[in-house]
């Protein structure tokens, strides 16, 4: 639900009124606040030059106003409650009601003015990651500008010179503020046809971010370096990440930026893609190669492009398997093959409600759906048409459908495959496998006898 709320009418508005001068106040565009975490349809430009808008996964594009030829946006940095997936709300910092903030879409050559209001309890700033701009607009507090104090509004103004995929994020108390979810996408569309930028039918974008939220709590721990337990796309985790729904034969672009503390090999099923651009700009055709996984390093952006010609439900995910899991314990012993038998009963007598787990692997965790700490997502979860999906974190599905209408981004439901195209169980008992003779004796351990040197054995 996108709502235009008058800034002065919001809680905390008194601070803004007291600290923002009257002429500046009169010049401020009304901030637009988003209250939902669902994917908004593309925002087609009604003013300014035309372009082909993107779809922000579980996000939205910030509306602007034209002021004497200048595109004006208003970003409000503020604490937000972001639903990471149904069943879990994270207390984050973000922009205009959500984390990440809204996507800013402009056209190459646009004069852009962005008002940044700080409604956080501490100072902030805004860095326009990857942009060509005057040094004083780069947003590094202390280096290129004073920090934006709580209650203050700063104005950034520059020309969007280079077409491409960018990000924005704070450069003041950066570790804390990014660990709290402050970031957003910036798309500069080409002003005219560009030899290295293709026109696509569907253009998706999202940011990778990671949080360490103690199970049962809601606020991320900003000083975590490596032990993050929630790996998100646009501050959502599976099964809260929307699917990428496309029409068969669509040319599809997916723009991914990494603001986590580690690399993410993003892997797509069913199709090959090429990387057509980075945050450094479009890549010449001669420098592209096909692949099915691309590693996105920290602070990098990648544009994946492919033609969705294979109908079906195709998984897309980070290939680090811990990143397709939600919160889990890292110090758990491996209980595979540990038959608990009557021990389980003894534990139950002591701890009513105990269930043995892990004896044959961890998949039962996805199925058992046992009560968890409040505001905590299962480590692996999700139901597909054929059973438990046993996933979490950075996982979604590209849904390619013959009958998905152009401009329709709604979820078409599970794929119905053609008869005879789904893996099936073999009806008869499998034949006895031929084993090599020595394999049968594997259990008989080979005894290694070490002969100790004996004293007095003349050399």
């Amino acid at each position: 639900m996108t709502s235009r709320r008058h800034f002065l009418g919001m809680a905390g508005g008194a601070i803004a009124a007291a600290t923002v001068s009257r002429p500046a106040l009169a010049a401020l565009p009304e901030p637009v606040i988003e209250t939902s975490a669902s994917t908004r349809p593309p925002l087609h430009p009604s003013t300014g030059r035309p372009y082909n808008p993107v779809v922000t996964l579980n996000g939205w594009t910030l509306p602007w106003r034209m002021n004497k030829g200048v595109k004006e946006f208003h970003l409000v940095a503020e604490p937000v409650n972001r639903e990471l997936a149904p069943g879990m709300i994270a207390h984050l910092w973000g922009y205009n009601g959500q984390s990440p903030g809204p996507t800013i879409e402009v056209v190459e050559g646009d004069q852009v003015r962005i008002f940044v209001t700080n409604r956080l309890p501490e100072r902030t700033s805004m860095h326009w990651h990857g942009q060509r701009l005057p040094n004083g607009m780069d947003g590094v507090s202390g280096l290129t500008q004073p920090a934006i104090q709580p209650g203050k509004t700063f104005v950034y103004e520059f020309v969007a010179k280079r077409p491409g995929t960018f990000m924005y994020h704070p450069h003041a108390d950066e570790m804390t503020q990014m660990a709290m979810g402050m970031m957003g996408m910036w798309i500069t569309h080409p002003a005219k046809a560009h030899p290295h930028i293709s026109t696509v039918d569907r253009d998706f974008c999202f940011l990778l971010s990671a949080y360490d939220i103690e199970p049962g709590s809601a606020l991320p721990k900003p000083s975590t370096m490596t032990d993050f337990n929630l790996w998100t796309w646009n501050s959502r985790v599976f099964p809260g990440i929307d699917t990428l729904n496309v029409r068969q034969h669509d040319k599809v672009r997916i723009r991914v930026g990494n603001l986590t503390m580690t690399n993410h090999p993003i892997h797509m099923h069913g199709h090959e893609f090429t990387i057509t651009g980075t945050d450094g700009g479009p890549i010449p055709h001669s420098a592209r190669w096909p692949e099915v996984t691309t590693d996105i390093a920290v602070g990098q952006m990648r544009q994946l492009e492919f033609v969705a010609d294979e109908p079906g439900d195709w998984a897309i995910h980070c290939h680090k398997s811990h990143h397709t899991m939600n919160a889990m314990g890292h110090g758990l012993p491996n209980m595979i093959g540990v038959e608990q038998g009557e021990l389980a009963e003894r534990i139950s007598n002591l701890i009513p409600g105990y269930m043995k787990m892990g004896e044959s692997g961890m998949a039962e965790m996805g199925e058992m759906k046992m009560p968890l700490p409040a505001n905590t997502l299962p480590m692996m979860t999700g139901d597909g048409p054929y059973g438990s999906l046993e996933m979490g974190g950075m996982f979604s599905v590209i849904k390619v459908r013959r009958d998905q209408k152009p401009g329709d981004y709604s979820d078409p439901g599970w794929y119905t495959p053609r008869k005879g195209t789904v893996a099936y169980e073999y009806g008869a008992a499998p034949p006895e496998a031929h084993r090599a003779e020595h394999a049968a004796h594997r259990d008989a351990s080979v005894e290694v006898t070490v002969k100790k040197p004996e004293a007095g054995h003349g050399h």
């Binding site: 889990m328 093959g337 540990v338 701890i351």
Partner: protein
Amino acid sequence: MYGLAKQARCLTLVSAFGLMLGGCAHLDRATLLEHTQRDLALSHPASLTDTSSDINPLLARPLDRAAAERLMLLHSPALRALIRQAEADIAQSAASGRPANPVLGFTRLTGPEVEIERALSIGLFDLLTWPQRQRVSTAAQQQQQLQLSMTLLSELRAVRLAWVDAVAAQQQLSYAEDVAESAAIAGDLADKMQKAGSISALDLARQRAFAAEAANRLTEARLHTQQQRERLIRQLGLNDEQAASLALPEQLPDLPATARSAEQINQRVKEQRLDVRLARAALATAAAEQSLSLPESYTRAELTLHAKRTGPERSQGWELGVALPVFDTGELTRQGMDARTQAAALQLDATLRRAGSSLRSQYGDYLTRFDIARRQRSTLLPLREQIAHENLLRYNGMLISVFELLDSAREQINTVIDTIEAERRFWQADAALESELLGAPTLSTGDQP
């Protein structure tokens, strides 16, 4: 004959008079028990004077605290011995209040003539100081009766403490078994993990060592429970058969909703305390003895009536013997008695002064034990339960291992054990305060043997 008959009549009168006086001054058994019972403020009136010695109904059910007191008072041979001993002491004191019996002398001599002489002697000063003797005797008996009350109060406190400790130990034991079981499970699980190859030799050894330690602690706990039970059995004075059938309640009583208020405590009049009354009785005895010793110390007089027949001749007369205070003027005895009386007076003063502080100290202990026990039960215990529950949820989410879950369960059980311990200490403080209110000297309420 006439003379002797007159003497005999006189003797009879004296004896009757003596018996009457003596009868009045002796604290008999029923009165002794009645007074003692009143001193102890026993809630079950029949207990000391109850003659029906059937204790089977008391042993038929789990023995609560009141029943334990009753059982001891009714049945314990050691306790009955204390009462009998007090009776004996009192009887002796009563006897010492009476004058020495008159002595009848009869002499028959044969010679030229048969000579028969009869003499009746009586201690003159015994008769003259009879009222003082009675006062000494009465004071001593009163003191002995109060001493008995004091001793029984100590016994009552001892049985209350023993009961509280025995019940608490038994209650804690079942939880100690759970603690050991959780450690044993962890050890067994580690063994299974070793077969699967998922535990290091180091961790396996740690788990086994932990289980063995827990087993040792359980063995200790079992011994402790047995020792506490036997202590109670001794205090109750049960024989082997009765001891075998003794059942205790499964748990200590619930904490009272509110602690006894300071007003309730202060209402008790210091003068009514047993220790004060005992000190006062000791002073009265000393004073009475002093007044008696004054004449007795230097003077003794004896009157003897004589009747003599030598052949046909009869003669009669009397004889008065008086001890002369030549060597012992009684000075030293008087000084000693004087000092003894002053010592008793000072002792009374000291007891009065100690009583207030002792009561405040005991009440402070009682209030603190109440606060700790209540916080333990109404705050800590629910929190530990919540922690255990949250850990179960975490285990469900594969956030913690089964070992951590067992640790958490053990922590929770240990809090239950600590809670029982806190309640045990409260009920000990309560028993001690109860004795203190009646005026028993304060003893440490800490761990009793």
